[in-house]
Symmetry: C2
Subunit: 473 residues, 2 copies
C-alpha cells in the first residue's frame, strides 16, 4: 500500500474509532507487537482499538476495502505466536480489549453472554456471583480473554469433566472478513438448523473471522472440591487408577494430573517451603480431584473409598487424601509449581501433546529411552492432564550443560517427540493451537487432503487472505 | 444423463460393488425410497450398497465423474425427509447399511470406533459388554444408524448430562464429494490442530460428504438410575425444580422431562393398564432421573432429599420416588407412552422446538392462548426434554373435529408456533434437522448472512452440488 493510501486508510479509521484508538507511534504500539514469552516482536501499520462489535465490523470493512491484513488480538497470552503480526509491517493489530462487557447472565438457563474482550477471571467471577461455575481454568486466566480462549479452543485443568472451550460455548457473534456482523448468539442446548458455523470459528485462531461476543455455558457450583495425591510405580498404574476412579466416581472426578518423580524433585529443589507428603521417593504421582454437588463430607468419603480400593488392588503404593478444602489447595500447589520450578531451573524444550489415554504408558516407555539415546543425560519433565490424554512433555538439558546450548537441539528434539506422537496417533498441539510457530509442523503431519479441505474453507470465507495471514495455514 | 451414459455408469458401479449391490428394479428399490412416516416416496436411478469405506469412496468418485447426485442413507428413520431422494429419478441412493462393523473398543481410552452403518443399539450393546455406556438414546435406536445420528446431530433423552451426538464424537472418517477418503478417526480429547472439520460434517445431513466411520466417546456405566415423578402447578414451578435439582445433584441429574396434564390424560385413555401414581389431577408433571456412580441406595437417597427440599419450598404439589430400578422403569413408561398415545389418538401437527430453558414458561403462557384464539378448542400436547430446552409442542384437533380436516391448518399452525419460537430466540429444529421438509422454514428464519456463509461452505466443498441436493439449502 502506498504511503498516501495508508494515510487515507488511517484517517478513515480515526473517523470510525476516534484518534485515541488508532495507535501508530512505535512506543504506543510496542506492547501489542511482542509475544507473551518475549521471543518475537513483529511490526504493524497501526493498532486499532474498536469499542463495540459494530465498530469491529466497520473497522474490518475498511480493512477489506483497502486490503489491509488484520491480526486480531485478545489478552496476547498465546504460546504459538498466533496473536502478534509478522515483521512486514503491512498488517493492523485489531485489539478486542475494549470489548469487555458482561452482557447478560441467565441463572435459569445457566448461560452468560459476554464481549470477546472480557478477561476469563472476570467471567469466572461474574458466574460465581450468581452461584454458578464457569469451569474454564488455566494459568493465564488473569490476563487471557474469552475471545482468545474461543479462537484457540482453550483447554486447561477442567476438561476432564467439562470439556474444552468448544464444549463450553453455545453461541457466537462474529465479524466476517467482509466486515459483516453475524449474530449467532444463541443460548440453546439443542439446535439442528444447518451447518455448525460456531465450531468452525472456534479454534480457527482468527483466520476466518473475528469473534466479538459469545454465549457460554454455566454449571452449578460444586459444594466441595477435594484432592488426593497418590504415589505409583508407573504410568501403567496411573492408567489403572484412572479407570478405577472414573468407574467409581463418574463425573465427580474433575481432575487427574500425572507428575513424574523428577517434576516433584524440581519443585522440592526450587520451592523447599512447600511440604511434600511422602518421605520415600516413588516413580510417578497422580493428583486426583473430586467435586461433589452434595457436601465436603461426601467428597472426602468417596475419594477415600476410591483410594482405599486402589491400595487394596496394589495399583498405588501410597496416598494422602486431603481432609479439607485448604489441604486440597496445598496439594494443587505442588502441581501448579511444576511450571514455576521449571522456569527457575532454566529454559527447556516444551511440547504440548495429546494421545489416546490408553497409549500414554507405551508412549512414555518408548519415547523416553529414545530421547536418552539421542541426547544422553537429558532430563524429562513429564506431567499433565492425563485424564484428557494431554501431556506437557518437556525436555531439559543434562546436568552441567548450559540451557542455551541445549536449546540448539530444539528442532531435532521436536522431530523426535512429534514423530513419536504421530506414530501413536496423537496431536502435536493439544491445547495451545498452531499460530505461526507450529505452522510448518502442521504441514508436516496433517494429511494433504485435510490441509486441502482447510484451505478450501479459508478461501471460501476469506478469499483475500486478510484474516490473521500466516497463522495455521 | 442419457440412457446410454446411465448404463455405462451403472455398469461401472456393478464392477465396483458386484451385481447384487446395484439395485435398479422398482420392487428392489422401493424400501429405500419411502420415508419413515410413509408420507413421501421418491425415485432413484439406482440404489448402491457399498460394503467398505473404500467402496464408498470409489462409488462417490464414479458419481462425481458422471455428475450423478447422491442421497446417503442410513437407517432411514429421519423425520424431515433428509435421507430419501426427490421425485426426479436422477439421483442414486447410497446405502451405508453394509458398513456395520464395530471396528475397535478401547476401554481405557473410553472410545469405540465403528462403521457408519452400525445400528445405534448394537453400539450401545457393544459398549455395555465392556462395562461402558454409550449414552445416546432415542426412540428409533433399534433401527437408526450411527452415520445418520452423526449426520443429523441426534439428541434424545440423555443430552442433559452427555450432550448431543456432536459432543459424543471424537473423530470421523468421511468420503468427500470428490470421492477421496479422509481419515479423521482421532481418539483424542484435546486436539487443536486446525479447523474443526469434524463438527462441520456432523449435522450437515450428508450435504458436504459421507460419513463412513467414527470414534465415539464412552462413559462409565452408572451403578443405578432412579426416577421420580413430581406434580406441579405450572411450567414456572418446573423451572424452579430444574434449578434446585441441578444445584443439588449436579451431573447426577440425567433426565428432566416435562409433561402437561393432557399428555398423561392421553396415556390414561389409550393405555389404561399403565398405573398412574396420582389420584388428583395436576397441571404439569416432571419426570426426574438421577444416575449414581456409587449405588442404588445413594441415588434413591439423593433423589428423596431433592424432592423433599422441593416439597418444603412448595415448588411441587406431590411426588413419588421410585424405590427400585424396576419402579423407575415403570415411571419412564408413562413418558415413553406419550408419543404412542398420540399415535392412537390420531394425527396431529408436530413441532420439534428448543428455547432457552428460562423462557419456556413464558413461551407456553403466550403461545398456548394464541393457538386457542386462532384454532378454538385445539388441544396442546406439550412435553419434552425441558432440561435441554427441547419441547415437543404438538397441536391436536378440537374434540369432534376430524384429524385430516385439522391437518389442513398445518401451514398456519406451523407459522404461529415457529414465529413464536423465533420471537423467543429459539430453534425450529431442536434435534430432527432440516432435510427437505423444513428447508423453506430455514430460509424464512435464518439471517441472510448465515445462509450465505452456509452456501459458501457448500460451494467450496461440493461445487457441483451432488451431495444430497435439495436438503438444508
Amino acid at each position: 500500500m502506498s504511503s498516501a493510501a495508508a494515510n487515507t486508510f488511517l484517517g478513515h479509521c480515526r473517523t470510525l474509532l476516534g484518534d485515541p484508538h488508532v495507535l501508530t507511534l512505535a512506543g504506543e504500539m510496542e506492547p501489542y507487537l511482542t509475544d507473551w514469552r518475549g521471543r518475537f516482536t513483529g511490526s504493524a501499520l497501526a493498532v486499532l482499538r474498536p469499542g463495540t462489535a459494530q465498530e469491529v465490523a466497520d473497522t474490518v470493512r475498511a480493512c477489506a476495502q483497502w486490503r489491509v491484513p488484520i491480526v486480531p488480538q485478545g489478552g496476547k497470552t498465546g504460546l504459538v505466536l498466533g496473536s502478534v503480526p509478522d515483521g512486514s509491517g503491512t498488517a493492523v493489530v485489531l485489539s478486542l480489549a475494549r470489548l469487555d462487557r458482561i452482557r447478560h447472565i441467565d441463572a435459569f438457563n445457566r448461560t452468560i453472554t459476554v464481549d470477546a474482550g472480557c478477561i476469563l477471571q472476570a467471567v469466572q467471577q461474574a458466574a460465581q456471583d450468581q452461584g454458578c461455575l464457569f469451569p474454564l481454568s488455566l494459568a493465564a486466566e488473569g490476563s487471557c480473554t474469552i475471545g482468545g480462549n474461543l479462537a484457540t479452543n482453550a483447554g486447561g485443568t477442567a476438561v476432564l469433566r467439562y470439556g474444552n472451550m468448544r464444549e463450553l460455548c453455545l453461541g457466537l457473534e462474529v465479524v466476517t472478513p467482509q466486515g459483516e456482523l453475524w449474530d449467532g448468539l444463541r443460548a440453546l442446548r439443542k439446535d439442528n438448523t444447518g451447518y455448525d458455523l460456531r465450531d468452525l470459528y472456534i479454534g480457527a485462531e482468527g483466520t476466518l473471522g473475528i469473534i466479538t461476543g459469545a454465549v457460554l455455558k454455566l454449571y452449578p457450583q460444586p459444594k466441595a472440591c477435594i484432592t488426593a495425591l497418590a504415589a505409583l510405580p508407573s504410568p501403567d498404574a496411573a492408567l489403572e487408577l484412572l479407570k478405577l476412579a472414573q468407574d467409581r466416581c463418574g463425573a465427580s472426578l474433575t481432575g487427574f494430573e500425572l507428575m513424574s518423580a523428577f517434576c516433584l524433585h524440581l519443585v522440592r529443589t526450587h520451592f523447599p517451603q512447600l511440604p511434600q507428603p511422602f518421605t520415600a521417593a516413588h516413580p510417578q504421582y497422580v493428583l486426583l480431584e473430586l467435586s461433589s454437588s452434595e457436601s465436603e463430607a461426601h467428597a472426602v468419603a468417596l475419594l477415600e473409598q476410591t483410594i482405599g480400593a486402589a491400595l487394596e488392588r496394589h495399583i498405588i503404593h501410597d496416598a494422602v487424601v486431603a481432609s479439607s478444602i485448604a489441604q486440597s489447595q496445598a496439594l494443587w500447589q505442588l502441581r501448579e509449581h511444576i511450571p514455576l520450578a521449571q522456569a527457575k531451573a532454566g529454559k527447556n524444550i516444551k511440547h504440548d501433546i495429546s494421545l489416546p489415554v490408553s497409549v500414554i504408558p507405551s508412549f512414555i516407555a518408548q519415547t523416553a529411552p529414545q530421547l536418552q539415546r539421542a541426547f544422553p543425560g537429558c532430563q524429562l519433565v513429564c506431567f499433565g492432564h492425563m485424564g484428557d490424554g494431554n501431556l506437557h512433555f518437556n525436555v531439559a538439558p543434562p546436568e552441567g550443560i548450559g540451557h542455551e546450548a541445549f536449546l540448539a537441539n530444539q528442532a531435532e528434539v521436536n522431530r523426535l517427540v512429534h514423530d513419536a506422537v504421530n506414530h501413536f496417533d496423537g496431536s502435536i498441539s493439544a491445547e495451545h493451537g498452531i499460530g505461526a510457530l507450529k505452522r510448518d509442523e502442521l504441514a508436516r503431519y496433517k494429511a494433504p487432503l485435510e490441509l486441502a479441505l482447510m484451505r478450501a474453507i479459508k478461501q471460501a470465507l476469506d478469499p483475500h487472505n486478510l484474516m490473521n495471514p500466516g497463522k495455521i495455514l
